[in-house]
Amino acid sequence: MNSTTVNINSPSQAERLMNMSKKIVSKFTDVMLLPMVGIAIFLFLWNISAKSIHTSLGEFPGPNAVIEQFYSLYDEHVTEGKKAEAFYQRQEVRNAAKLAKNPNYVAKIRTYTGKETFLDQIITSLVTVTAGFLLAAIIAIPLGIWMGLNKRLNSAFNPIVQVFKPVSPLAWLPLVTMVVSALYVSDDPMVSKSFLTSMITVSLCSLWPMLINTSIGVSSIDSDLLNVSKVLRLPTLTHIQKIVLPASVPMIFTGMRLSFGVAWMVLIAAEMLAQNPGLGKFVWDEFQNGSSNSLARIMAAVIVIGFIGFLLDRVMLQIQQKVSWDKSL
């Protein structure tokens, strides 16, 4: 704030202005300046240490090399898009020509089967993680509510939950792969096996935080509210709908946020091994490829993975604040 240009009538107003400008400055420092400083220090240290690490694929990529790869990944996406467009154009021309020769000709429409670009892979990953997370939520939330309402059921299931909760996705994956291969047999599959395997692995790992939080949320509802429900003689379904669900929404959402975080982490590992064409496969393919750019491209993927994970959490938080009555979260 430039206080010399402001007309100051009284000392108190000047003071107020000073205070206000102090507040704005301190907020600016907290929100913008300090994070920038942190990032700058990180980039500096990264740059220095990268130069001193020599791998069989050359020097470890510094920030510049990674930025370069971001550009080239985007260029590849654009080029691939143009190729696809050209393909469809050629197909159209060819079909039109054939149709002109023979009016009875039934045009064959083929889809372009070019290489998937980095952006396509991001979308595949997002679709897979969302599908896996939703499957987990569909199972975990109703089961969690049931467990929260029924102490016996909770006692019965709790040991199983505690044992399966810490299992790594890498342990589940071979089992899931084999089961999917055995059971998902179809001539015209709607989705690929690799997608299904990744999705189910994500579900298996992201189920638990939601299940635990939901059941705790439900079982710890204020007993006064339960008494209100008893006095009103609410039928079970109304009781769940009007009392249990709203009361435990904050806890359910905390569980969902934890689960989404887990799901995103698990997804990358699952895609790597299941060869689902997402970010995990991208990292794995670059690693196998072993060109001089590979490490920089993997590093670019790492940053993208982190950034998307952060954004997903923000989105969940926004939804939570919209849905939940408890605005203090």
Partner: protein, 292 residues
């Protein structure tokens, strides 16, 4: 008052709390909270339950509400046994227990929809909800949520919710216990005003001697637990409508007040006083030992 109940079916007490025992199993053995609590209440009567904390007042209320089941004995409302909670015995809880995600209107609506869904049209329900909120002077904040209104206002909505169920008996568990003295006085006046209009049968738990005398037709004084029971019953025959200022100088009012005080602080003096004294003395002893 405690005349023996006659066998004829027309001459039963409106609400009969009949020889209740309540035993809670604990890790160290059974704990008898209530022993032989027996009380008959007439329709339209306002009863206060008073006693030291921990004497089982709330337990009695919860048994009448149907939230607890008595170990021995039982509760009869219009000669029918109370087995579960229900809207004909509406409860006003101490800390309002409004659903925090619903507005005042919606909180009352939940009760009205549940109780009158077969007998009222939508428009009638709306009128009934608004009538009850008006009764407790909360029509101005109908569409505010509990976190947007004060403690006294929350308790008003809680009372409106209970009244809206049109209960046979209104049970109030220290309804004004959490409020400051001024708000409490306001609420007591409101309650008397409502009571004038509706003449409900009420059982109210309280710690407050003035509140008990001001509001009640009878004050039921409970002995200290364990094995708490009814110590004395005091009839309050002050004329209604009652005015707190006029009563402050009233001889009868002050006699009743001192009766309750005598019961609480002489006859049923809380044992805790003695235990704190003994702990002080033991700590003094320790000091002496240390000094020696």
């Amino acid at each position: 008052m405690n005349s023996p109940i006659q066998a004829s079916s027309t001459n039963y007490p409106f609400l009969n709390i009949s020889q209740i025992d309540m035993v809670f199993p604990t890790a160290t053995g059974d704990f008898t909270a209530l022993k032989d609590v027996d009380l008959q209440i007439k329709k339209g009567e306002f009863i206060s339950l008073i006693g030291h904390s921990g004497c089982g007042k709330s337990t009695v209320l919860n048994i009448v509400a149907g939230l607890y089941k008595a170990t021995k004995g039982g509760v009869l409302l219009k000669n029918r046994e109370v087995n579960e909670a229900g809207p004909e015995r509406a409860v006003v809880f101490q800390n309002h227990s409004l659903l925090p995600w619903l507005t005042s209107y919606q909180n009352v609506e939940l009760a009205v929809k549940q109780v009158f869904n077969k007998t009222m049209t939508k428009a009638e329900m709306k009128d009934w909800i608004e009538y009850n909120l008006k009764l407790v002077h909360m029509d101005h904040a109908m569409h505010k949520r509990p976190d947007e209104i004060s403690g006294g206002m929350k308790q008003r909505v809680g009372i409106a919710r209970a009244l809206a169920m049109q209960p046979e008996v209104l049970l109030m568990d220290e309804p004004f216990g959490a409020l400051d003295a001024l708000t409490r006085a306001h609420m007591q006046d409101s309650l008397m005003e409502i009571q004038n209009e509706l003449n409900n049968t009420v059982i109210m738990i309280t710690h407050d001697v003035d509140e008990a005398v001001l509001l009640s037709d009878r004050i039921v004084m409970m002995t200290n637990g364990p094995e708490a029971t009814i110590g004395e019953i005091l009839d309050v025959n002050l004329e209604r409508p009652r005015n707190r200022l006029a009563l402050a100088k009233d001889i009868e009012y002050n006699r009743l007040r001192s009766e309750v005080l005598t019961f609480l602080y002489e006859k049923q003096r809380k044992v805790e006083n003695i235990t704190t004294k003994t702990t002080v003395s033991t700590s003094e002893e320790k000091k002496l030992v240390n000094e020696a």
